[in-house]
């Protein structure tokens, strides 16, 4: 029995030691000038660049930015372990219900628009496709331009690598979750996709709106040409808003940061990162 009590005491000391230490230190993020941002890898470059500029201007600020995906960010906001959740999609109804059950009221802030342009080589006579045709090309159902009224030339499919936010958006908005054909050439950047398409006569690819140039031809999709106006007006079909979510209408430093991202200076960063600015 004595040995039992001794072991229980050792157990209590082992447990109490670190417990007291971390209690004295206080939980992470409670510091008055700390902000934790977590979520979408698509929004990550905007959040990182904005946080860097904001911290340069406000040296007392400490902003931690990490990815993990929209679902992870929203789950953390609901669990109250982050201050801002980055999301490349709107919060789901089930997440809203979980948030309500946890006493969290997610407030959406649209910080940018994401517009993805389907591009071909300048020599390609095709100038318009619909989303179904693009999907069929990328899933392998259509493999020659002649099937779309073009020349008898094999389609060379160029895609972004699976870890990119652009790939994720294209999967959701065009492929509806279906897999890209296995022989697609995967490129690590928007610039690499544009460059490969410009050099390859039968190629098709997709890039962010900011990467269009005279070297490549953007296609009309479902009758709408991609442009800042058609993306912002919600007319171009391969576009989506990008969000930062906070618990309720933010106050203090969190509000200052959200206001900064929405400001002209913040929207300049959005442009620089290849997304469509709201201003």
């Amino acid at each position: 029995m004595k040995r039992g009590i001794l072991k229980l005491s050792i157990l209590c000391i082992l447990f109490a030691g670190p417990g007291i230490a971390v209690y004295a230190a206080g939980p992470y993020g409670e510091g008055k000038d700390k902000i934790i941002i977590e979520g979408s890898t698509t929004v990550l470059p905007i959040a990182q660049a904005a946080a860097e500029t904001f911290m340069r201007q406000n040296t007392e600020m400490d902003i931690s930015v990490r990815g993990g995906g929209s679902s992870v960010g929203i789950a953390s906001l609901i669990d109250k372990t982050c201050d801002i959740a980055d999301a490349s999609r709107a919060i789901k109804d089930i997440e809203l219900e979980k948030a309500a059950a946890n006493g969290v009221s997610p407030k959406a802030h649209v910080v940018a628009m994401d517009g993805i342009c389907v591009i071909v080589n300048n020599s390609n006579p095709i100038s318009a496709l619909n989303r179904k045709q693009v999907k069929d090309i990328y899933t392998g159902k259509i493999s020659n331009w002649s099937q779309l009224g073009g020349s008898n030339e094999k389609i060379v499919v160029i895609s972004r690598d699976t870890s990119s936010g652009t790939f994720e958006a294209f999967m959701t908005l065009v492929l509806e979750g279906q897999k890209v054909r296995p022989d697609a050439l995967m490129q690590a950047s928007n610039q690499a996709v544009a460059s490969t398409v410009s050099r390859t006569p039968g190629a098709i690819g997709y890039v962010g709106l900011g990467y269009l140039s005279s070297e490549i031809k953007a296609l009309e999709i479902d009758g709408v040409m991609p442009s800042k106006e058609t993306v912002l007006g919600g007319k171009y079909p391969i576009s989506r808003p990008l969000f930062m979510y906070t618990d309720n209408t933010p106050s203090g430093r969190i509000r200052d940061f959200i206001d900064f991202v929405k400001s002209a200076e913040g929207q300049k960063i959005v442009n620089e990162q290849g997304f469509v600015a709201l201003k």
Binding site: P18, L96, E97, V110, M113, D161, T162, P241
Partner: protein, 428 residues
């Protein structure tokens, strides 16, 4: 900025008048379009107001729906699962065994107040086997299609004074973290108390600590219960979303075990002349798991099919016995990090070896060599997603005793066993 604020006030007024109903969304669009045409808003600002307003309305509807639920239902969460299994077992010296099995589990968790929870779960199974919630088709001898027993799987109370500290008492899911089920069958729910600290030092690094008291046997006659005390300090590390690492060292300490105890054991631990446990099972058990997202990012074809890969392992050492005092396992998994939908898959391969007295033989996975110690095994699992919350899994074990049989027809040989399980899993 002033024009933007005016527009938000105007739209807010419309939403208010509209009674937060989505049917008025079209009117908001028209108003925003007019404001853009008159140059009061830019198209981007209009898009921002439109989307944020729509999201605000969705939130209001979700909150209203939630608030319409009875107060008690708002505090209750239900979860459950059903598993249909086909199992084939082949063992030297025994007949081949083909059986069909089901498992049903249903659990409830109630938020008592902001700091306290209570939960309980019911499951199929028998009170005599804490390591299995399966019931076998035709298992009741002489009674075809008999009713199946439902038992209390777990029942606990929980107190969390902060977000990072939780105390649990009752019969509960084992909080000791293990990357595999080599030492702890996942169906086994300890009875006793646990204190858990889970503290995030920064977005990348966290500490956790479990301190558990597991009452193995109540002994009123001698006033000396058999108790397992376990302490598990560990770390969690996440590097830039592509690397996840978790590592821990668990110490197990028993009181009143050596020279006592004849539990529902598998007859592999060593016994003394009085047929009681010959050794103590105080042991140390380091564990590690490393997961990498997009491990083949540089190889597009592989990257497409293998978005995740992980390595994991355990080691256990009991200093008391002279032989058979250690065990280990090591494995890899790859495919989807979690099988969550149609077409997603994950494969796992694991090698394990567990000495006769390395760990108490009432705890290990009951499927691996019938839950015995003194064995080595290879396990292969392939899980394939059939849709949301449902999957098909194939689990194959090859195992063999470490020591040779001393009598009977197979004397001088190890005793191999093969087990194949095909599971259809449904969760809700």
């Amino acid at each position: 900025m002033k024009k933007f604020v005016t527009a938000i006030v105007l739209v807010g007024f419309i939403v208010l008048v509209a009674g937060m109903r989505l049917s008025y969304a079209g009117e908001i669009d028209l108003l925003l379009q007019k404001l853009v045409e008159k140059g009061i808003l830019t198209p981007g600002e209009a898009q921002q107001v439109k989307t944020e307003t729509k999201e605000e309305i969705r939130k209001e509807i979700a909150q209203a729906k939630y608030e319409l639920l009875p107060e008690w239902l708002q505090r209750v969460k239900f979860k459950g699962d059903f598993r249909l299994r086909y199992q084939f077992k082949r063992e030297r010296g025994a007949s081949d065994d083909n059986i069909g099995r089901i498992r049903l589990r249903e659990g409830v968790e109630v938020k008592v107040n902001d700091q306290m929870k209570a939960g309980f779960g019911l499951a199929t199974g028998t009170t005599s086997d804490p390591r299995s919630t399966n019931v076998t088709f035709g298992g009741s001898s002489g009674t075809p299609a008999s009713f199946k027993d439902i038992t209390v799987d777990y029942a606990y109370g929980q107190y969390s004074p902060t977000t990072w500290l939780t105390f649990t008492g009752g019969k509960f899911k084992n909080p000791i973290w293990q990357p595999t089920d080599l030492l702890w069958d996942t169906d086994l729910n300890p009875e006793g108390f646990n204190a858990q600290l889970d503290y995030r030092l920064n977005p990348y690094f966290g500490l956790f600590l479990n301190a558990e008291t597991f009452i193995l046997a109540y002994d009123s006659a001698k006033g000396s219960d058999t108790v397992l005390w376990a302490v598990q300090p560990g770390i969690k590390y996440n590097l830039h979303d592509w690397l996840d690492l978790r590592a821990a060292v668990t110490g197990y300490f028993y009181t009143n075990l050596k020279g006592k105890g004849k539990y529902n054991r598998q007859s592999t631990n060593s016994l003394d002349s009085a047929n009681q446990y010959k050794y103590n099972y105080n042991a140390v058990n380091p564990s590690i798991e490393i997961g990498v997202k997009d491990p083949f990012a540089s190889f597009p074809l592989l990257a497409k099919y293998i978005p995740y890969a992980g390595l994991y392992g355990d080691f256990v050492y009991n200093p008391d016995p002279e032989t058979g005092k250690s065990g280990f396992d090591a494995g890899i998994k790859f495919g989807a990090e979690k099988v969550g939908g149609w077409g997603q898959w994950q494969a796992r391969v694991m090698f394990a070896k567990l000495g006769r007295d390395a760990f108490l033989d009432i705890f290990p996975d009951s499927d691996r060599y019938s839950g015995k110690t003194n064995m080595k095994s290879v396990e292969f699992i392939l899980e394939y997603g059939l849709g949301k919350n449902t999957s098909l899994a194939l689990d194959y074990y090859w195992a063999e005793s470490l020591s040779k049989q001393t009598s009977g027809g197979a004397a001088g040989s190890n005793i191999p066993q093969q087990l194949v399980q095909v599971d259809w899993n449904l969760k809700w």
